[in-house]
Amino acid sequence: MRELPHVRNGQALPFGEVPELMGREFRHAITERVHAGRRVSALFGIPDGDRVMLVAVLASDQQGLLELCRTSMENGFFSLTSEIPQVHWFEREIAEQYGVVPEGHPWLKPIRFHGPYRGERDAWGRDARQAIEPGVADYFGVEGEEVHEVAVGPVHAGIIEPGHFRFQCHGERVFHLEIELGYQHRGIERALVGGPNPRTAHFMETLAGDTSIGHATAYALVMEALTGTTPSPRAQGIRAIALELERLANHAGDLGALANDVGFLPTASYCGRLRGDFLNTTAVLCGNRFGRNLVRPGGVRFDLSSEAAADIVARVRETLADVKNAADLLWQSPSVLARFEGTGAVSREDALRLGLVGPAARASGVERDVRSDFPWGAYQMHPVPSVTLRTGDVYARACVRWFESRNSAAFIEEEIATLPAGSVCEATAPAAAGHLAAALVEGWRGEICHVALTDERGRFRRYKVVDASFHNWFGLAIALRDQQVSDFPLCNKSFNLSYCGHDL
C-alpha cells in the first residue's frame, strides 16, 4: 500500500502535505484501505475555482491514525459505492452540494433537498434557480400482486423530528424501507465557512442538540489543533465527565423509549424521568441541562467545585441504581424479550460493509469505539471498557446501552476522584493558515468526525461535520428488511438516529 500522510486524533497538518492523487489512484487508495479494514470517516468536497476537490479521511482503528488524501475534478467522478457501500451517502452529499455526478452510483438521490452550491445545474440536471421540493425524488418500487407501499412523515405522531419513510411491503412483511431526510436542513455547514465567529460554538452545540457536548468537544479538538493549544488535564477531565453524562442521559432515555414501543410502561415511565435526572446532573456542571456553553476551544467555561463534584457523584450513583432497577424489569419480562430478541438484526458483515459506528456497530459484534481506538484528552490516561455484543438485534442494541451506562458511571466516579487541580481554560492563538485539522469523538450515538480546512487568513475555508447518524441511517433500512411494518418504531428507537445531525 502506498503511504499516505496521517495525523493522530486532534492534529493538524499543512494542507499542501495532503497528496493530490489522480482519480484512479484516489479510488485505489480508498478501496485498498477499506479492504484492509480501514473506514471512511469523512469524504467531502471543497469548491476550488472551477473545480471541486474531494478529501478523504480514512480511519485506521488498529493504529489510531487518520490517513488523508485528495483528488480534484470538474464535473464528475467515478463512484465507489458499488464496491464500498459505506461511501454511498457521502457521494450523494457531494453530488447534491457541488453539482458533480458520481458516475455509476447505484441510487443517486438528493439527501437534503437544497440547490447546488456551485454551477448552473445540479447533479440531476435541474436549473440551480429552480425551487427544490423536499422529499420529491425517485423511490424504489416493488411490483407484484399484493405488494403495497406505506408512506409516513414528514410529520410523525410523537414529539420527534421530521423525516419521510416509505415501506415496500407484502402484507406485514417489509421488503425494503426507504428513508428520506432533509426536512431539518438549516444550512449549518455552509454558514460555518468564513468562521470562527461568535456563532460558531453555538452552531456546534445545536448540530444535534442531544449531542451538544460531543460536537462541542470535536470542535474544540479541531480548534486546539489549529491554534496549537493544549487544554489543562483538569479541563480535559471535566469535558470527559460531561460527555459521559450525555451518554448516560441518552442511553437511559433510549431504554425507556424501547420499553414504550413494546408497551411496557413501567420502564418507559421510570427511564423518562431518569433521563431528566442525568440532564439535571449535567446542569450541575454548567447550569444547562444539555451542557450548552460548557466546552470551548482551550478548555471549559466552568470549573468544578468540590461540592458540585460530590453532588454529581451522589446523583450519578443514585440515578444509575434506578436505571438498573428499571432496566432489570426489561431483561426479566418474557413479553419484552420476545419482542426484542431477533428483531431488526444487522449482521456483523453488513455492519462492517455499511461502516456503522457506535452502539449500533458494537451490538453487531464490531469492536469500534473512538474512546479506545483514538483516545483523546482524559481517555488517554483513563480508558473506558468498550462493550460488544453479537446478535445485532434490538435486544443487543438495548443491552449495549445498559452495559455502557454502567461503564460511564464508573468512569465519572473515578475521573472525579482523580481530577487534577489547575486552571480550566487556556487562551487560544489565531488558527494556522492553510491547515487541515481532523478530530474524532465518541458521542453517545457513535463516531463524530469534524474536519476543518483554513484559508490563507486562518478562516474556515471548509468545515465538515459527520455525525454518527450519517453512517447509521442506512443501517436502520437494512435492519428492517424482512421484518414486520409494526417493528419499525422499535427498530427506529433501537438506533435512535439524529435527523438534524444528519440534515445540518
Binding site: F113, H114, P134, V155, A157, G158, I159, I160, E161, P162, G182, Y183, Q184, H185, R186, G187, I188, R190, A191, P198, R199, H202, F203, T206, L207, A208, G209, D210, S212, G253, P266, S269, Y270, G272, R273, R275, G276, L279, N280, A283, V284, L285, C286, G287, N288, R289, F290, R292, N293, F302, A308, D322, N325, A326, D328, L329, Q332, S498, Y499, C500
Partner: protein, 251 residues
Amino acid sequence: MLRILQARLKQGYRTIRYPCESPTLPTLYCGKPEWEAAKCTEGCRACIDSCPTGALSKASGALTIDMGRCLFCTGCMDNCPAGAISFSREHRLAARTREGLVLDGRAFQLAGALDEQMRRLFGRSLKLRQVSAGGCNACEADINVLNTLAFDLGRFGIQFVASPRHADGLLVTGPVTKNMELALRKTYEATPAPKLVIAVGACAISGGVFAGHDEVLDGVPTGIPVDLFVPGCPPHPLTILDGLLRLLGRA
C-alpha cells in the same frame, strides 16, 4: 408482576409540586437577563459585538435585550467590561406578544391568560400537536420531559396528540426550515379552529442561532399567528410549563 410492584416501590413518587411549590433550579442556572444601565459606559458596544444572535441593541443610548433571540449563553455578561449585565434565577419568561420579550429596563410583563371564552374552551383540556421544524432536538426533548413522571403534564389537562385533527393547537419548535414550511402550514390548516399556536425556543421565535440563513424562515412564519412565546435555547421545562399554565390562567 411482583417485581414490577417492587420496582414501583423503589422508584417512589417523583412528581414535582409545581406550581404550588417553587422549583429547585441548578446553582448555575441563568434566567431572565438584568442589567444596571448606570454602569454602561457611553459608546461601549462590547456586549452587542459579542452576541451571536444580535439580541442586544442600544436604542437611543439605552440597552435592550430581546429574549426572543437570546440563547442565554451569558457571552454578553462575560464580555461586559463594567460588569453591568447579569442573569437572574427567574425562570418565568413566556410572553403573549413578540414585543413582550424585548426587555428595555421596564418591568417585564408575564404572559397573561387567554380571554374568558377561550379559557372556557381550553382551560381544563388542551390537546396540542407538536411540530418540529428544524429544531435541534433539545427543545423537543424538554417538551417531552413534561410528559414524564417528574412534571406529569397530564394532571393539568394538557396532552400531546398524534393528529392535528384531534388538536386544539400547535406547539412549534425550530427555525422553520424551508423544507418544513409546507408541512407546517398543512398541519396548521388541518387543526380545527379556534386554535392556539405556541412557539417554543429562540429558533421558533426568531430563527435563533440560524436566523438569516437562506434555508430557514426565521421562526413561525406569517399566516400562523402565535399566542404564546417561550424564550430560551432550549427553555427550561419549567419555563415551558409556566408559560402553558399562564396561558390557561392556571398559574
